[in-house]
């Protein structure tokens, strides 16, 4: 049997089966709608539910509802679900564009941040305008780590519904600057091996080559790359290596490229 013939028979059988199978239609519809919704969300950017502006939240809720209609109802064409989704996403971009163009329009759509606690205390008028209670303010303050209102200099209700809190200076967390200490600059660790695989794009960023990685593995008594759960290196040369189901080890890469424990 030729491969071409086998392929043809396979597709014939598949299409005969698929044509009479209602459940399979739903499976395909679910896949199509999933891909479309995923694409649209990627296009709209990364936003967490709590970080959404009001119009983004509305869009998310409607999209969720619209996507399910053609998925479950076979008599409704998939386009009846997709076209409203596309329309809403285009509308979203138009709104976002107009918000960038005009501050007033942005305030009309998203509202503006409101100061609810100022140095005089709670601004009751602001609470009334926002239609929130003192309990809501306390809940938000506790969420930010402040349990007493006298610790707070300003609290601002953001347009996404989150409260930003500025503590009074004497209640602010101690920083290195307050202590006037000299500390090394923080650097971001770069993943070199992630779940047994070398992240090749990151080798260039960390300015490492494979021979240095081999030196690190040898020093940590690791035989194969696939035994490593995580290997990170930061700009200062600090190495973090953890094998699967074992405790991590740390080491350093000297400026000369030598690996030291």
């Amino acid at each position: 049997m030729s491969k071409k013939w086998q392929k043809s028979v396979f597709f014939d059988i598949f299409f005969i089966f698929a044509k009479d199978n209602g459940m399979l239609t739903i499976v395909f519809r679910a896949i199509i709608i999933y891909v479309v919704v995923l694409f649209l969300y990627r296009l709209m950017g990364k936003r967490q539910l709590g970080e959404m502006q009001p119009f983004e939240l509305v869009l998310t809720l409607i999209i969720a509802d619209l996507a399910t209609i053609p998925m479950a109802e076979v008599s409704v064409p998939v386009l009846h679900g997709i076209i409203p989704l596309l329309t809403l996403v285009v509308l979203h971009f138009v709104l976002a564009f107009l918000c960038k163009l005009s501050e007033k329009f942005s305030q009309f759509v998203s509202g503006k941040p409101v100061i609810v606690i100022n140095p005089k205390g709670i601004d009751y008028k602001a609470l009334k305008n926002l239609d929130i209670s003192v309990d809501d303010v306390f809940e938000a303050l506790r969420g930010s780590g402040y349990f007493k209102i006298e610790q707070v200099q300003y609290a601002i209700m953001e347009t996404n519904g989150k409260m930003s809190v500025l503590p009074k200076s004497n209640f602010a967390p101690l920083t290195v600057q307050d202590m006037k200490l000299q500390v090394e600059k923080s650097t971001i660790p770069i993943n070199i091996i992630n779940e047994g695989k070398i992240v090749k794009d990151n080798l260039g960023i960390a300015k490492l080559d494979e021979s240095t990685i081999q030196k690190i593995l040898k020093k940590a008594n690791v035989k194969r790359v696939k035994d490593v759960l995580l290997l990170t290196v930061d700009k200062a040369g600090a190495v973090y290596l953890q094998k699967y189901h074992e405790k991590y080890v740390t080491m350093n890469i000297s400026p000369l490229g030598e690996v030291e424990e």
Binding site: L43, V74, S75, V76, L79, H80, I83, T87, V90, F93
Partner: protein, 134 residues
Amino acid sequence: MTKWLWFKLVAVLALVGVIVGVCFLEDRMVKDALGEVNTRCYEIETAIQENGGIVNGEVASLVDNLEYEWFKKESGLCFLVNHKNTEQLGVEIVRLKTYIDEEEEIEFYVSLNIIKNYVETFQHFMGAGVENIL
């Protein structure tokens, strides 16, 4: 502008293009399919008047043609229109054939008028008029 912003701009324009394209396509396909049905219904009526009844080869042939054309166009319409909105038309066309076999002229006329009425009301239902939008 970064590559991502360019991509977004192109994607949004493409989405607008898809929306406009689908709207035009739907309008064209629906008008084409329903116009065809309407024309054929009038042809059937003319044939009945000329032949003095429904039991003759010409009417049967015209009904067969109507059925063939409708089911051919319906499969295309299914991409754009809710199947439930179009299935009634198919049912009435099939009934026409049965009424010819059974020589039930009154029922034949009823079904033919239902089809004509359906075509007219469906065209109203499809348009983006204020009454449909609201």
